[in-house]
Amino acid sequence: MAPELLLLALSVASYAVGALAALIFRGMVGRALVAVGALVGSLGTLALGAWCLATGATLAFAAPWLPLTGLALRADGLSAFFLVVVGLGGAAASVYGFGYSAHYDGRYSLRLLGAMFNVLLLSLAIQVLADNALTFLVTWEAMSLSAYLLVLVEHDQHGTVRAANWYLAVTHAGFAALVAAFLVLAGGDMTGSFAAMRSATLPPATRNVVFLLALVGFGTKAGVIPLHVWLPMAHPVAPSHVSALLSGVVIKMGVYGLMRVALDLLGGGPPWWGGVVLGLGAVSALLGVLYALMEHDLKRLLAYHSVENVGIILLGVGAGLMFQSYGLPGLATLGFIAGLYHTLNHACFKGLLFLGAGSVLYATHTRNMEELGGLISRMPRTAACFLVGAASISALPPLNGFASEWLVFQTLMGGALVPHPEAAIGMAIAVAMLALTSGLAVACFVKAFGITFLALPRSAEAERAREVPASMQVGMLVLVGMCVALGLTPFLVVPVLSRALAGLGGLPLTPIGFSLRLPFSVSGVTGEMSPLLVGVGVLLLGTLTAVVLRGVADRRLRIGDTWGCGRVGQTPRMEYTATAFAEPLRRVFAELYRPTEDLSIDFHPKSKYFVRSIAYRSEVEPWFERLLYTPLLSALRGAAVRVRQVQAGSLHLYLAYMTIALLALLVVARWSR
């Protein structure tokens, strides 16, 4: 048996064992078996993806004897890459989950958690291998449902049920769009196989319809604005390792689907496809980070950053689609490479950040940044891991966020070569929006890391925090290693990605060549940089400085109080709060936020000159809920009320309905003969 099939079988079996073990065993044994099952399965998936990417092997497996059109699996470069993403995210999350789920024992259902975790990973792995519409849709639905159940694990927490309901509703709306898209795409072909779709020729209007439906369907999963509202609700309330998986891997399935349909099955299209994706990406990136800035719930902040990063990925993908339609295949490949690289990087650093947030939640039982602080001395390893994640997501060299953002920038700068000035200027504006996004991301993560980990603890819970168990640390450290490795070695990653994309939708078969640094010369756009050498340089210079200083400078050090203009004592109330930190930006973008402020002052009963407590609350205007979702929902409710009148309750009326329907059906059947 070919090694690919063996690895696939191993992964599937391992996930199945993990899921079953969750249902059968209890306590630590159950948790351990779940973790081992998920870990082995994820490692198998990772190995499968890496093997296929390295050797160029393609896996093909079909089980047509299954109902309807049966199961069909095929691994090409794109699938293999996403298998790597799934495997990596799953491995880190499963190791972490072993320690993390310990505090669920007795309070929430560990059986649901363990079983659905494995089912989710299984459906993710099969989905990227799907080679016909039925397989894809069934695994998509399995993924959505298992994710929904996982979001519901902490069911008695405030906001969980509402979040899960929103998630379910939006994902099924997207699913409906996807079913429609695949039905239209398949045309008359009853097998629904991707191969048939690839070779079919459809009229341009139909292709546009398919593209738009796919965009809506996959956009809801990816969390593109304005279809993103469920993301900041659902990701924070899920268990942290599940959040890491949801943000790091599941939303990437939207990206995978979009690339599969738009690039592979449809083979590219008119420039406005790329333009729409690019525009949505730019808006998502900017609005995602702007809303993230105003959050002081650590996990909600990270969820909004997922929206932002999906936006950046779509910038790359959209640019790629545009370049392809303008006949610039080299730049198109670059765009897709940038998008895929950022997908992998985001899976790593967002996974790391969510695991870090989970550790903070585990240690302090609160997600609210305003109650944290001083954790860097109490949870040193978690703090160091979170710092690496924060630096990565802020795109600071030499970590991985920088490598992929650099590629996105270079792609967009290639827009200068496009013959149409409006497209070129659009790309220039996208460059500006991306730069603003990345600057604001730095601001946001200085806030997130600084308020959460630095200075003095702002509550008793934060003061009592202790470092998390070893399995949780290992999960985080794996991702730290990946962040650093992916950042320092883009010259290894990019050729692999370009091989993965070769041949898709008419992209060139020969991969772009690279050397130790990362130079490229594509259609007249050249750029070169080496994060490895830059990183080594900075490290070297820093060490050199330290060594020289030890010899030359005075080495005395005295511990004293923080300078506070001579006041007596220092309390946590004197520190900056997260709300205060984001206040200048809240003012600058006040037109977008329309913040409402609520100030309540509790005076001393004896005199109005003394204040007992002051509570300040500031809410950001929820534009999308107000303008899009609330009218939509009330319209649906209105329509539903009106339709309910048909259900009058009378048996005679129902019999009449059935008779009329039967007659109508007979007439239609006679007529269409």
Binding site: R558, G560, C565, G566
Partner: protein, 178 residues
């Protein structure tokens, strides 16, 4: 443009530092040679108002102006005692400012120098014996140089600072006030 025309027309108005009255400046403690050599050419000053009437502050403010121009001696004022080498203290130390003054002194890294400005800083001046006053500055922190006057002239304050750093021209031989 009128601004620059005015600037060019007025030219440099800094006055050279004269010798001044000898008994205005009193050296209370010898500053170490090491500190004097280190701080001789570049001094960062943190000004501490330990309860003064602000008369001395107004004189200190003109130090950075064009006429007295303390910057030509390498003196600049800083915002934090952590950045400072020299503390310029004014006023009798009031009860409320005793601890902040002490904390400022502790926050300043070594080597440091303290110059107390004004009669209040040396003898509590007109506020001596008041219920709100703890004592003169050297009752709270060690002082190196006192500059007398109520308020002292900016030139005297400058001379006092330079004496503390032993950078006063024409004063190499004479150490104490007489």
């Amino acid at each position: 443009m009128l601004l620059f025309y005015k600037i060019l027309r007025v030219g440099v108005v800094t006055e050279p530092l004269a010798l001044g009255e000898p008994d205005v400046i009193e050296v209370a403690r010898e500053v170490e040679t090491k500190a004097r050599r280190l701080l001789g050419r570049a001094v960062a000053i943190r000004e501490v108002d330990a309860g003064s009437c602000n008369g001395c502050e107004i004189e200190i403010t003109s130090l950075t102006g064009p006429v007295y121009d303390s910057e030509r001696f390498g003196i600049h004022f800083v915002a934090s005692p952590r950045h400072a080498d020299l503390l310029l203290v004014t006023g009798p130390v009031t009860r409320n400012m005793e601890v902040p003054l002490l904390k400022t002194y502790e926050a300043t890294p070594d080597p440091k120098v303290v110059v107390a400005v004004g009669d209040c800083a040396r003898t509590c001046g007109v506020f001596r014996g008041s219920y709100a006053v703890v004592g003169s500055v050297d009752a709270v922190i060690p002082v190196d140089v006192f500059v007398s006057g109520c308020p002292p002239e900016p030139a005297d304050i400058l001379r006092g600072i330079l004496t503390a750093l032993d950078r006063l021209p024409q004063r190499n031989g004479r150490r104490d006030g007489a």
